[in-house]
Amino acid sequence: MTEKVRIGDDALMFSETLLLFLIKQFNGERTLSGIYHLLKGKKSSQSIQDSFLFRVEPFYHLCDDLERQSFQKLIEHLGDHEWIKYMNSEQTRVILTEKGMDKLSMFKIERMIPDGLRITNYVTTEKQFWLRLQLLIQTLSALRYQQTAFLPITKFPAVTEAVRRIIMESSLSRNQLVHQFYQEIRRLLTSIPILEANIFASQFSGYHMTGLTLRQISDESGKDLFECRTFFKAALRRIMQELSKNKSRYPFTALLMSPGVSGLSTTAGVSLRFLKSGLSAQEAAHRRNLSIGTIEDHLVEIALKDPTFDLSEYLTDELEHRIMDHANRLNTRQLKTIKKALQEGVSYFQIRLALAKNTVR
């Protein structure tokens, strides 16, 4: 929108710098869509892999509310200032100009990015968690004010069912429940920087007080929209990490976390992210400076805790059946015994994997 761009360069400082940084990192090796998908958090292995390849992991899924059109306008804005130039006639690939390099070097991107943004373990479930959290807060506020009806901010069945279950299954009285939750949220927000906490909480809805959209927070505070998104995501990620590290301090709020991923140890979670980005176990080990055995341990843990992860690369269905047949026939879980019974070419790791997969079911 012309209106937006006219506001002045100060208001856009953050978005400009961020976009210039991403363009520099991508270095014209992907189209602009690649950058857009990164920000949107597209669930394709390409996008996830790109975030590793170009060392921009923190920005994956930074703004799932980003409209293609606003992204395009921002790119055009950069072009108008001659900070970027197009590499092809279709104008799909761009790199920085000298002027753009100068502009970018004026700012330290590392300093602009809050630490919380770098916590990427929970990125796959952060949207789900955030919706649940907002709906739970809205529902508890309605209970607290004895409101008989309210318009929920989301009707997405997976979210409403989860929130419903958490409330119904609690043994506390409604009133205690609200207070318990209040204290947990308070504790969580106290643990993060105040600016992030304010942006985070401004989006909460309660009794006759509907939360703001990020766009509104940006308008009201005069902060760049991308900056607001960044602080929000940093807060969200810090909170998810705190919840998963210190479950016992937040018995109620921790229920909002998806068990599949939060159950994973942090280090296995990191390996999982590498593996999901398309790296092999060997490459992941190299990247993380760990032994292949450790990564295999992680894979076994993943098999146990994240049944959605595809392990066929390490263990075919056919081999899995063969291992389990032997294990069941011999009625043992002893690796050595099973290995002996099987012909050559089957590793201990594969047997552990098969056993892990089959404990789950």
Partner: protein, 516 residues
Amino acid sequence: MGSLNNLREEDLLREAKIILKEKFGYHQFRSGQQKIIQDVLNGRDVFAMMPTGSGKSLCYQIPGYLLNGTVLIVSPLLSLMEDQINALRAAGERHARALNGMMHAQERIRVLRHLEELRFLYISPEMLCRSDIREALAKITISLFVVDEAHCVSQWGHEFRPDYLQLARIREQLGHPACLAVTATADERVREDIIRSLELHEVAQTIMSVDRTNIALVVRNVSNDDEKMEQLCKLLRTTRLPGIVYCASRDWTERLAELVRRQLGLRAAFYHGGMESIDRRKIQNQFLDNQLDLLCCTNAFGMGINKPDIRLVVHFHFPATMNAYLQEIGRASRDGQQGLAVLYYSPQDNQYPEGFIDSNFPEDAFLLHTLHELDEGVLTIKNKDQFLNDLQERGSSETAARFIYERIREKPAYQSFHSIFKRSKSMIEQRRRVLLNDLSIMKNYLTATECRRAYYLKVYHEDSHEKPVYCCDQCGINLADFDSVNFEDTVINRKQLMSWEERLSYIFKESERSKQ
């Protein structure tokens, strides 16, 4: 209606009035409501045409408290269902539920398990066509069979829903309860269709005027967008709010919201279909909670929204049909107080409604792509609501999605999806012609030199009756009479931004807890 026989008619009416007051907080019936409710309570089949905002839901909600059994309300609009149930719950009614395809299966099971406890059950026509649901319903007593948006039964209407053709048969299977068919708009042809196809016998009809006499009508001619924005700001500076500004495009909603916020310091926000659904929800709820003075929106806003104290509806661009226009201005002052509708017209605006007309139908490329995805099995039509949802997420309008769905349903099983492309295209052409005719009626309203009200009443074949004091610009109107200074509104102007501690403590009512 055995239980009612011993109650005389006036007793029933007295009971109805008590419920009106105690449950819904109104002191008297609005025009039309009383006769409809009496007819319903007498067990008659009833056809009612009531304009948007004239309180049609009360016509079946009040009988719900006087009849034995469950009132079944067939409604095609999910948002409307939700809003109505919400309003009922807010009025203390716990036995109101919905059944529709967008619900979690678990929740559907919960509803079915407690069917007989329900006083009100809202149901989508698709759900009602399912045999398991019908069997469950056949086991309970249906006191009244309400068909909302009854014009959907007619092929003459623009919103024909084939599922509605099954309703007469289903009503039989449910023990032939009395039927109340309601709609906001239906010409004579459509009315006849409704009565015939729903098999209404000795039907009691109440046809209310489409006229909303408490809304004053103003059309302002301007020469360009700048002049429009200038005039809009001038109007908003003094006129009584809250208000809605309808725009033809998403860009304009954003632009105007920003303009108004910066220039006038009003609490303004925008709302359009391109936003994340949670953001749309938030803006809508803020407007309902009086956190906003002005909402700049596309026609995506409004369906199923019940806010009785909207005082101003502005059209920054004019809509494509008289019907849509009346529907949109009908959102003003549902509480019966004086409302104002202002439409700005500049000759350049003629481009927009054509766009609206197009949005009723899928573009060729989209249609082709969808049919391709269906043939490939990427998309399925197993769950209708899901399918409609999928298409909308791919950028289709709801009407266009429904259009595609209907074409697919007519397709013989042995043919590929792709095979219906040509026929669909010719149907689009045919319907487009009808819509262009509607558009010309709307355009004539803008340039008419007679009374605006008289013009649209003529469109609906109604005679003009008594002119309201504030009629229209042609009859003479002074906009200053609508200035907020003339009214004693109390506006709670809570700040939007606050510290997290302040916000949290309010949301969980913690400040009071410490005092307890």
